[in-house]
């Protein structure tokens, strides 16, 4: 029996052409009992290879090909756990001392890490071939002797590959001779790079991408033939025992085949024996971790629930006993420690996700939602049956604050004890088309056009196929080369391209993480990443803590600081008034621009119908506009019941208590789990198993199994017939997309806080929002226009007043927002900061004064400042308009020779150069300059100046739509601020059109969108005529006719959601 012991997957980035799963499936199809994966310089594909192999009952041998400074790549196979740890450490060492994507092992390092490793001599890239090329058989012999000295003769195999190449065969003959002389075993491998012969094309394309060539000039870099595919044992045996001339030469070579089986039997290591241990939290006074956790929890319980809440105490005790049983005290303490650090450093932090189901997390201050009060299901977070690590995600303010938390974890657990998880970047539609097209020498214009046509919307209709995109780009797939292009684009979809860094996932380890998984440097300085992505780490049982950056957390934090500074008030987000009328009034009116999670177009169209009146309504609101409830058709029944149009009835009397809060309609994942527990008698762990069975990685067999169990359970409880079917239907269709109640509650808390700040501290909230862009659904200009409609005043960018960020200023009308220099598009941050710094020392006297004191200011920056009016106030009371400033900056920013260095500054006595012959900008020009220079305007909305004309033409302002009857035929016009084509909306497109009075919501049916695609996608301003829909206070216009609306040169920027 032949076993393939030298295969590369696509995780040998741009070298292997098949996924680890594809290799495993092909291996199983060939009837091989096991296989080894040796990717280049890493174990990137090992978890996926192992998991796929485990699923089909194969053994996955682990190894890697390591680049060596002496030349060649050394194929190393792992025989034992010690070997695995050695390999991980060796890779980590070579990676961490080099730049990202580089690194090679020093020959002497093999000696240090040799235990548990078997070394093959490799194919054309191997050390033996390298030695033969460099110095003939003499050097090759020395190379083999050296390998035997390092790894031991029994751990070295002379590798023979046969790809029908005459050069390779010459090398094989030399290798066989040397092996016989030195008494080393020979081993047949096929140096596999892909599964099927046809995948050689991908391999060639990858070679070109790697070598920056195109196929036409890649020449001998391309593969000789298509023989590096996974061959069956029979094919391999035939290769090494052909009846041809080779038979005489290699008469004894069946041993090369036999040796594969023998060596495979020596490779005992299994990836499940990773040896990973979560770190031990260092407790004071040698207390056990559990005791320490109990104490911290008790303190928290007292603080959160008081001394007399027996229900809470019982829940906490129950959770603690599970934590103790699962030996997870350390995990909770480590997360608690990170939260404690953040609190100490005044960094806002809040746990999200299923951790919010835990009363222990709530007591420890990790989460902010009371799971006892909200009756949340602990088993969704942790259960004895699952045997998995719990998942705690922490939301932190995006930016520097989150980085501080990450650096704290590095400091605490050491460079080799903590690392970020990787993010495997794979080929997607656009990247595949662009790179393959380039390799096939297609011109860049065609590729741009194709890339543009590759659907960027979230929704893709059935006609929106790659074939159609090719057709639209004018490419005929019937042509040979275009046909290849098309096929290759499809084939390389989802194959890994390179390794990136996950945004927030961190893994920590007791002791050396580098012996569990290889580490390598990230592009970002000071960051180390593991070679596995988040999912792989979770699958391999490595605990991760997600430190996620959330823009709204940064907004909240900044708002609190601004309020503290300008209103001298201390806001505690944990103790906001619970039922603030202003908040609920705003939510009920869908006046929610800028508010977390409830500002989207879909949320706004639901809010007036749901009409939130209490905090739990916000939780429902956050969860209801999700694919789960929408696909599961739960939204309308829930809203109808809320509006009293449908009777509130439960699926079964037994489920009343579970579903009563959501009016008998299941909306949350926890409800499904509870339904399974109540109706079918599932335990908490079994219910969570059910969720996973129907989750993203669903398998038919497993779903069937769980369904049988569910039905059996319900039969036992007497729930049969149609009711049983309905419950099954609800559970199965919903489990995939359902939103956890705990997660919704955590988000609802942030949503409430953002709404509260917007309603009561609009200036601070708006300034903070503007300082944390990009985030949310809307562009800054929309946020400003919305704030202006709410009465907030703004001050323009001014080098004599503006800081880098937007700030608040006192005025007789209350606080107003001064736009920061950060909004001047071509102004560098360091220049802006320097301007503010110099101004703090002394006010600027003139533009030349500014230029002399901030010499790093560049000409373009000067022009940009002048264009947006930021220099208008620099000369005190002197009459400076934008054009005067532009006139002056052109002279100020020109280099001055030494002769004129000492001439008086403009604006000082004796200077007359500030006079400008230029006309001031008119209103349209200012508007255009504002949008071009800052992307926003504080002046009137561009639509305002056309109102008279629009009125004459019968175009209705957005604010008046609410007063019109349902079914009225109307025309509206405005700037497009949001375009959306959600995946769940069957091809409908939703637009938000803004005019000076507010926002009009537009619905475009798919046929109309097809016809007017270009206008809808590319026009900044639109005029839309159609039927007004006014349903339960939700106002929208169903478009019947769409025209571009021409409006000078102003270009508004929309936020398009794809």
């Amino acid at each position: 029996m032949y076993v393939e012991l030298h295969a590369r997957s696509a995780f040998s980035f741009l070298e292997g052409a098949s996924s680890p799963e594809a290799l495993v499936h092909a291996c199983a199809a060939h009837g091989m009992p096991s296989m080894a994966l040796l990717d280049r310089d890493g174990l990137y594909g090992a978890p996926r290879f192992y998991l796929a192999a485990r699923k089909v009952g194969l053994q996955a041998h682990i190894g890697a090909e390591l680049s060596c400074t002496a030349g060649g790549r050394y194929p190393l196979l792992v025989t034992s756990a010690a070997g695995y740890h050695n390999l991980c450490r060796l890779i980590t060492r070579m990676k961490l001392r080099a730049k990202k994507g580089q690194g090679a092992v020093e020959p002497v390092e093999f000696e240090e890490f040799k235990n548990g490793l078997v070394c093959l001599t490799g194919g054309a890239e191997g050390p033996l071939a390298h030695a033969l090329r460099a110095g003939g058989t003499g050097r090759a012999s020395r190379c083999l002797e050296e390998l035997c000295r390092t790894f031991g003769k029994e751990n070295v195999y002379v590798e023979l590959q046969r790809h029908f190449s005459i050069e390779e065969e010459r090398r094989n003959q030399a290798a066989i001779g040397l092996a016989r002389t030195l008494g080393i075993s020979v081993l047949a491998t096929n140096g596999v790079c892909h599964v099927a012969p046809g995948d050689r094309e991908i391999s060639d394309v990858f070679t070109c991408i790697r070598e920056h060539r195109v196929l036409l000039n890649a020449g001998r870099l391309l593969s000789l033939n298509a023989e590096r595919h996974l061959k069956s044992p029979a094919q391999m045996a035939a290769l090494f025992a052909t009846p041809a001339q080779m038979a005489a030469l290699f008469a004894d070579l069946p041993e090369a085949i036999r040796n594969t089986e023998e060596l495979a039997s020596r490779l005992k290591f299994n990836l499940k024996d990773l040896g990973y241990q979560f770190p031990v939290y260092p407790t004071p006074n040698q207390e056990s971790q559990m005791t320490f956790l109990r104490k911290r929890t008790s303190e928290g319980v007292l603080c959160r629930y008081g001394a007399n809440d027996r229900r809470a105490a019982q829940q906490v005790e129950r959770e603690l006993s599970v934590i103790e049983k699962l030996d997870l005290a350390g995990y909770f303490l480590i997360v608690w420690d990170i939260v404690r650090f953040c609190r100490e450093k005044n960094i806002l932090v809040q746990g999200r996700g299923s951790a919010a189901n835990s009363a222990v997390c709530y007591s420890l201050g990790i989460t902010a939602v009371d799971p006892v009060g909200m009756n949340l299901l602990f088993e969704r977070f942790l259960s004895e049956e699952r045997g998995e690590w719990p998942d705690i995600d922490l939301d932190l303010p995006s930016g520097d604050q989150r980085e501080r938390a990450i650096q704290y974890v590095y400091e605490r657990y050491g460079k080799l004890g903590a690392a970020m998880t990787a993010n495997v970047i794979t080929y997607r539609g656009k990247s595949a088309a662009r790179e393959v097209g380039r390799v096939l020498s297609l011109d860049s214009e065609t590729l741009d056009r194709l890339a543009h046509l590759v659907s960027a919307w979230e929704y893709t209709d059935s006609k929106d196929t790659l074939a159609r995109q090719f057709q639209d780009a004018g490419l005929d797939v019937e042509q040979h080369r275009i046909g290849k292009f098309f096929a290759l684009c499809q084939k390389i979809q989802d194959l890994p391209r390179h390794l990136g860094q996950h945004s927030g996932g961190m893994v920590v380890c007791q002791g050396q993480l580098d012996s569990v998984v290889p580490l390598e440097p990230a592009t970002m300085p000071g960051r180390v990443v593991v070679q596995w992505d988040k999912e792989d780490c979770a699958d391999m049982g490595i605990v991760k803590v997600d430190l996620l950056g959330l823009g709204m957390m940064a907004v909240l934090e900044d708002s609190l600081q601004l309020i503290r500074r300008h209103r001298n008030e201390e806001i505690d987000l944990g103790h906001l008034p619970e039922d603030d009328p202003a908040v609920y009034a705003a939510l009920q009116k869908a006046d929610t621009i800028g508010m977390f999670q409830v500002e989207s177009r879909a949320q706004m169209s639901c809010l007036p119908r749901l009409s939130p009146k209490c905090f739990y309504d916000i939780v429902v609101q956050v969860a209801i506009i999700r694919p789960g409830p929408i696909v599961g058709k739960m939204v309308h029944p829930y809203l109808n019941r809320r509006l009293g149009r449908e009777p509130v009835e439960s699926l079964h009397p037994l489920l009343e208590s579970t579903l009563s809060r959501t009016l008998g309609v299941p909306l949350f994942q926890e409800q499904l789990l509870r339904m399974a527990m109540i109706a079918a008698g599932f335990t908490g762990g079994e219910a969570e198993e059910l969720r996973r069975a129907f989750g993203f990685k669903r398998s038919e067999a497993r779903m069937k199994e769980v369904e049988i169990k569910l039905r059996r359970g319900m039969d036992a409880k007497g729930i049969t017939g149609a009711t049983q079917d309905r419950i099954i239907q609800a559970i199965t269709s919903f489990a995939l997309y359902g939103f956890p109640e705990s997660h919704a509650a955590s988000f609802a808390l942030i949503a409430y806080a953002s709404a509260y700040l917007k309603c009561h501290y609009l200036a601070a909230f708006t300034a903070a929002m503007l300082n944390n862009q990009p985030m949310g659904f809307y562009q800054p200009v929309t946020l400003i226009k919305d704030a202006q409609r709410h009465g907030l005043r703004f001050r323009p960018i001014d080098v004599t007043r503006s800081a880098f960020e937007c700030t608040l200023e006192e005025s007789p009308h209350g606080l107003l927002v001064r736009i920061g220099l950060c909004y001047v598009k071509s102004l560098r941050k360091e220049t802006a900061l320097r301007i503010a710094e110099c101004r703090a020392a002394a006010p600027f006297l003139s533009i030349e004064d500014l230029q002399q004191r901030v010499p790093q200011i560049q000409k373009d920056e000067f022009r940009a400042l002048a264009s947006v009016g930021a220099l208008n106030f620099i000369s005190g009371d002197a009459d400076v308009h934008r054009r005067t400033a532009l006139w002056q900056v052109e002279s100020a920013s020109r280099p001055t020779g030494p002769l004129f260095k000492s001439r008086p500054l403009r604006g000082e006595a004796g200077d007359s150069g500030s006079h400008s012959p230029l006309e001031p900008m008119n209103r349209d020009e200012r508007l255009e300059a504002d949008f071009r220079g800052t992307g926003l305007t504080l002046g009137k909305h561009p639509m305002a100046q056309h109102r008279a004309r629009l009125d004459r033409e019968g175009v209705v302002p957005a604010s008046r739509l609410g007063g019109l009857r349902d079914g009225t035929f109307v025309s509206v016009a405005g700037s497009v601020i949001v375009r959306q084509r959600p995946g769940t909306a069957k091809g409908f497109v939703f637009l938000s059109l803004e005019d000076e009075t507010g926002i009009a919501n537009i619905i475009i049916a798919p046929p109309l969108f097809e016809r007017e695609h270009t206008t809808v996608v590319h026009s900044s301003f639109l005029r839309i005529t159609g039927t007004l829909q006014n349903q339960d206070g939700v106002i929208s216009v169903k478009a019947g006719k769409i025209d571009p609306f021409t409006l000078e040169q102003t270009e508004m920027i929309s936020h398009d959601f794809h």
């Binding site: 790809h163 029908f164 190449s165 005459i166 050689r200 094309e201 060639d204 196929l215 000039n217 020449g219 001998r220 391309l222 593969s223 000789l224 033939n225 298509a226 023989e227 052909t242 009846p243 041809a244 001339q245 080779m246 096939l440 011109d443 214009e445 065609t446 056009r449 004018g474 490419l475 005929d476 042509q479 040979h480 080369r481 290849k484 022009r863 002048a866 264009s867 054009r883 532009l886 006139w887 052109e890 002279s891 020109r894 150069g913 012959p917 230029l918 006309e919 900008m921 020009e925 300059a929």
Partner: protein, 516 residues
């Protein structure tokens, strides 16, 4: 002083409409690019009314009813430009070639010949019109004003001296063709027309916009005068001949070629130059092709050539028309055009005459002109593609090479190398490969018939498998075997080692060569 500027608006379209005048009354879009990415680069007014725009794809332009699509032709543009020069030169000898579509002429002193400035301008217009183009002509005492107005104002414009600014003041600044940087500054300043630019104080402007700003201001105020840059004769010499009846015989063709060569050599010699390279382009008769409707299968195939080119690259420049004609004749004998010739376009690139003295100890090399003649004679016998120095191509494809130009190495003989001790086996390649018949048993050749003789395989080594060019329609896939073949007693070679190949795509066996 008086200057006239000639400007041909929409030059790309007009250069094509010269040869197809009927296009002037139809909507036309001119496209350029390579298939399938053609884009509209120019169009006429009728097409514009329909909605045709620059940058539109060919497919989009074709959607407009009645729009005629033509490819942009740089050859036609060049010829139109030459025609424009001819028109200008026919009136004045002092011509500046400002742009393909713009010429500036000095018309001072022409009044006695042609009359008033307006009459001269009308004459220029009519000359251009006779050559198939519509132009704008502007006359001014100021050459730059004339240029700007010719580009900006349709028809005829005569500017009285001192009134330049009146004509210029309403024109947009863009007509002065400022650099992108300055255009942006003007745009920021709100300086949109020539009047506002001319009104800026010159010193302050100089301080801010530099000398370019001052120059543009001068232009805007109608004071930008300068001497003409008189057009110099071109670097290459073009002769062109179009036949009424196509020629398919070398003799009459040689007569015409000889005449053209003599004209070229005379022009070249007059400038004390020699001919370094001659390129002759023949437009061929297409009568047969135009009557054939291509089948679906043949659409993708390479179309039959409509032109034929022949280039003489001379190792040493020469102005000997007889020699050049001999070389050309030999070249055409070995590789004739293949269809009757309709047009001949002959371009000569000049080079300086070279006088070379050989080194005293350098080996005597053949006279370059004689060598060239000899090579041409050989090429006439064996074919151009079978002559030269073979150069290996960078590909895995077996025996892939191309023939480079043969030349005598200038350096002395290479240093003697120590003979390699390893036994070198020579391989004699059969070109083209010989067809073979091969009997295979258990995937290994056992008997081979070659050139009518059947042999038995004694030893087989292989297969050596190669494949490639999978992205091309002509990919290859081949298994090569090294076979030791025993032929019957009495054969010319009783036993030999051959390389026999099996083409997996054509399913045929070939003998690629034999080992010595």
């Amino acid at each position: 002083m008086a200057f006239a500027a000639i400007f041909v608006p929409n030059f790309i379209f007009q250069s094509i409409a010269r040869s197809e005048p009927e296009l002037r009354i139809q909507p036309v879009a001119i496209i350029e690019g390579s298939p399938p990415t053609y884009q509209v680069t120019a169009y006429n007014r009728l097409a514009q009314i329909l909605g045709v725009n620059s940058g539109m794809t060919k497919a989009s332009a074709e959607q407009f009813a009645g729009v005629q699509i033509r490819h942009r032709s740089s050859a036609q543009e060049n010829i139109a430009h030459m025609a424009l020069l001819d028109a200008a030169w026919s009136v004045s000898s002092r011509v500046e070639d400002a742009a393909p579509d713009t010429l500036l002429t000095d018309i001072d002193g022409l009044a006695r010949l042609y009359g008033s400035e307006e009459e001269i301008a009308r004459r220029l217009l009519s000359r251009v019109s006779e050559l198939g183009m519509d132009a704008n002509v502007a006359v001014s005492a100021n050459v730059e004003t004339a240029r700007i107005l010719a580009r900006a104002v349709s028809g005829l414009t005569i500017v009285s001296p001192g009134q330049e600014w009146r004509f210029l003041e309403t024109l947009p600044v863009a007509m002065l063709a400022p650099s992108p940087q300055l255009a942006e500054i003007f745009q920021r300043w709100g300086v949109t027309n020539c009047k506002s630019l001319a009104s800026l104080p010159v010193l302050a402007l100089s301080e801010r916009a530099g000398q370019e700003g001052v120059r543009l201001r001068t232009l805007a105020s109608g004071r930008g005068n300068r001497p003409l840059l008189i057009a110099q004769p071109a670097d290459s010499f073009l002769e062109f001949f179009e036949l009424d009846d196509a020629i398919d015989n070398l003799e009459p063709l040689s007569f015409l070629l000889g005449r053209l060569l003599q004209q070229l050599c005379a022009r070249v010699s007059a400038r004390a130059l020699s001919v370094g390279r001659v390129q002759v382009d023949f437009a061929l008769e297409e009568a047969f092709e135009s009557t054939i409707v291509p089948s679906r299968e043949s659409r993708g195939a390479r179309p039959s050539p409509k032109t034929f080119s022949c280039t003489l690259q001379l190792p040493v420049a020469s102005s000997d028309a007889t020699l050049l004609l001999k070389l050309l004749r030999l070249r055409l004998q070995s590789r004739p055009p293949g269809a009757p010739v309709r047009k001949i376009s002959m371009r000569a690139e000049p080079a300086r005459s070279r006088a070379v003295q050989s080194g005293l100890f350098a080996p005597v090399s053949p006279d370059p002109q004689k060598l060239e003649l000899t090579l041409a004679r050989i090429a006439a016998v064996v074919g151009q593609s079978n002559l030269g120095s073979p150069q290996l191509l960078d590909t895995q494809r077996p025996d892939a090479f191309h023939m480079g130009k043969f030349s005598v190495a200038v350096s002395a003989s290479p240093p003697l190398q120590e003979a390699s001790r390893a036994t070198q086996t020579a391989f004699r390649v059969f070109r083209p490969p010989l067809p073979a018949w091969v009997q295979v048993q258990r995937n290994v050749p056992v008997r081979v018939a070659l050139q009518g003789t059947l042999g038995t395989v004694v030893h087989a080594s292989g297969p050596w498998r190669t494949s490639g060019d999978w992205w091309e329609e002509r990919s290859w896939q081949e298994d090569a075997w090294d076979l030791e073949i025993q032929f019957p007693v009495g054969s010319e070679t009783p036993q030999a080692l051959y390389r026999i190949c099996y083409d997996l795509l054509l399913e045929k066996w070939w003998a690629r060569g034999v080992y010595d």
